[in-house]
Symmetry: C3
Subunit: 350 residues, 3 copies
């Protein structure tokens, strides 16, 4: 089961427009659109009448008309017209999800709307932030979201899965990062000492660098990363903490894992560099290499899912590379327990 009391990325803000965008989030059908005011709206994509998809409907001003039998819904989800019927019963409403926008993403909250605090949306590095140049993209996986999350919590895979795309150094696999508990998630940080930088497309440096990577990974599956390529010696001078000098370039990105259902996952990512460090050409290369790398991930993760499907009862064998994974799952279990307790106390959420 998936957490409900949290913000999921539903779509890129740029993809939510006048039109009707159907998405499925943790198994729930949702239709997204934007009011004349520009506000993004997320409604249950299921007419109350005969369960037809409202996303096959039509905008009428800010309202949404089901194009099966013509019921019309206001942006708050209330049915405001049933053709040929005067009385509209109060149960005639579709659920309106709490929505917020931040960092180039439209976020929706499938759980208890009373708890939908926009302040819980993490700070992410997205498009439209003048400090960063960011290339955006997304991929769907035929795999459970947990496998995508686990991939992002153990970057030892860079050396192997991304040998071609990122040309990632062996230190990614051999050195363990520092893992710290933060609010609703983890902070994962590491230095790579005097090693060839990742694929030139990413760094444009031929000579060895000290590399500092740090990312926050927040429930339900939001990653925000900075990666600094520094002059050799920077690590030492920084006493293994964040770099204090010698920074040549800082790349940054945010990634979001949204379960479509138990079998499919949508993976959103914006990749780039600090505007000060990069040209459009360079950031396009970063986007291209990143997409190649995530396609490598998809191939491995979908293969893993297929093996898991035919391996009931076979358990993974954790290594010390799994510390963040193990830790993050216990955070999720804890949040799920709190959520269940709230639901026991107060009836069900939407």
């Amino acid at each position: 089961m998936f957490l409900k009391d949290c913000w999921y990325v539903a779509a890129w803000s740029k993809d939510v427009s006048d039109g009707l965008l159907p998405v499925k989030i943790i198994g729930q059908p949702v239709v997204l659109y934007r009011l004349a005011s520009g506000e993004a709206i997320a409604l249950e994509d299921r007419c109350v009448h005969r369960l037809a998809p409202l996303s096959c409907g039509k905008r009428e001003g800010d309202d949404l008309r089901c194009m099966y039998h013509g019921l019309r819904f206001a942006p708050d989800g209330r049915c405001v017209e049933i053709p040929g019927q005067d009385i509209i019963p109060p149960i005639a409403r579709v659920y309106r999800y709490p929505v917020t926008e931040k960092g180039g993403w439209v976020w929706i909250w499938p759980g208890d709307p009373q708890l939908a605090d926009a302040g819980l949306v993490p700070d992410v590095i997205g498009p439209g932030n003048p400090d960063w140049k960011i290339i955006t993209s997304q991929i769907d996986y035929d795999a459970h979201a947990d496998l995508v999350i686990d991939n992002l919590l153990d970057f030892s895979h860079l050396t192997y899965v991304h040998a071609n795309s990122f040309a990632a150094d062996k230190q990614w696999a051999e050195k363990r990062p520092k893992v710290e508990r933060i609010e609703r998630g983890l902070r994962v940080s590491r230095w790579l000492s005097t090693a060839p930088a990742m694929r030139p497309a990413l760094t444009l440096y031929g000579q060895p660098v000290d590399t500092y990577q740090t990312y926050d990974f927040i429930a339900p599956g939001i990653l925000t990363m900075q990666i600094a390529f520094c002059e050799p010696g920077s690590q030492k001078r920084s006493d293994d903490g964040p770099p204090v000098d010698g920074i040549l370039r800082v790349n940054g990105n945010s990634q979001a894992v949204t379960p479509i259902d138990d079998h499919k996952t949508r993976y959103f990512f914006g990749l780039g560099s600090r505007s000060a460090d990069t040209s459009d050409e360079q950031v396009n290369m970063i986007g291209k290499v990143g997409l190649a790398a995530f396609t490598e991930d998809r191939q491995m993760i979908e293969g893993q899912q297929q093996i898991m499907n035919i391996s009931p009862g076979v358990r993974p064998m954790p290594t010390n590379a799994d510390i963040a994974i193990t830790h993050f799952h216990s955070i999720i279990r804890e949040l799920a327990k709190q959520e269940a307790a709230r639901m026991d106390g107060s009836g069900t959420t939407a």
Copy 2:
């Protein structure tokens, strides 16, 4: 579960020939062919020996030979030859379904053959009737038959689903038809007052008309419709009953909903006009517009089915447009109850 003691449309008569036509009806595999005499035959499409499809077999005269191991079956279903074996056990027979032909369709009766009264086949408007020019076609839906049936019992959807194809007036959605109980089904009738006619291809009248539509919808899912386009004022002069004068043109059609299984449905339709009212060109246009409209239906109904699949426990909310639907389902439940009572009393049917 589907009714068994009733006539289902299995195929268009024109499609049943010398060759072997496999069809699936309420989950049962059936093979259709035509005897030298011209009689249409429906046999269980499953060899008694190792359950191979007889439709992969071969005609030998009026018999049907399974082309796996050569068992030969007479048109009554009896096995008449087992190659290399002298004795043919009496259980070596495939079921022969009661079949009748009417209105351009081959009908089969999957239930108790004792009850298969050809008189129960409704009068339909089909090809070959000199009074009508009819264009025939069929579509398969990835949806349960009930969703197709419900679509046909609530024509308020015309205004929305068929805004493009039929250019249907708003009165379809806003005015409720008269619904009467008839033998094994319902009669649904309505007037539309002085409104633009449907898509010119259907009526060829530019000026507003009074429109009278009436159709019978008979279990398990057979619709026969007439729709009269009349001079304005005809409705009033007819006192809301069938038109007594001013008829400009009468279109007619029959439609049949046959469950393939729980997930797929075959939808047969013959659309046209009274021969007196129409040219070949006009009736071709009617067929073309109708096919476009039913493709609109399919898109909506398959979308509805997909939403229903991920919405266990979510119930439709009836409106006053659903009166015929609700009524028809209670007729089906009643027939199913009678059928179950008969089966309890007399053992199972085929």
Copy 3:
């Protein structure tokens, strides 16, 4: 359920090379490769760490590195490196299947490795045997292995399924073969008297021949056949036993049925003639006609599987052509019972 304590054909020897070949056998994921020494290796295709497919990994010498997080496995299945971790727990090993090669095939034993006696591999007529010219191929079926096995145990289907490809005589259907019990299987033999030979491509004889066919069918599903085309009169002179004179030509082949899982089956076959009897051109024709014939089988068997899928509770009706089928299934049941008894006694096998 499938037998485990037996040899299954996993692949053609020629297809197992330096690279990694993933196969699925009785539902188990397996990766095949060949050591520098030339020895064929079969490992569980599932990394112990996070269950990624090792077949997405990389050879490093004789070892196999998982390309997800870099665990390295020796050919005996032991994990010999976990990047970034000094201690390798003893449970960090993947299962190595017993493997043997014979007759052009790589065989693997999914059951108790203590019982994996290479002596149990039947003698087959495969490529590389100087006495035979053999053309090899394979087909996957969307059907349970039992249906493919049953097909091979009742050659009365030749007359019907292979009327086109083999132009098989009616005697195949009408005369019952001699069926004898042999170790772990059956021997099936028959004479066809003075009949047109099979498709000229197979025999190159226009005139009628006496045909003697004999094959062994061994658990789990290995067939080895010889078929002698003889001068008319040979059958009589041989007193219905194997031909003693007048042999014009001997074709031979071996066929193996390997369950992929409960729904899919891989079918391997090598078809040909005694080297003394045939030219390369002739044996190419045999391969071509055989592939056409087995494609006919696949069409019938997949049709049969589809009918069976929608016919729960419908049982086949055995004929006297099914003697070998019935007999062979009782052999399999007996072997399964012995296997279950061993497992009860000794814990589970791999």
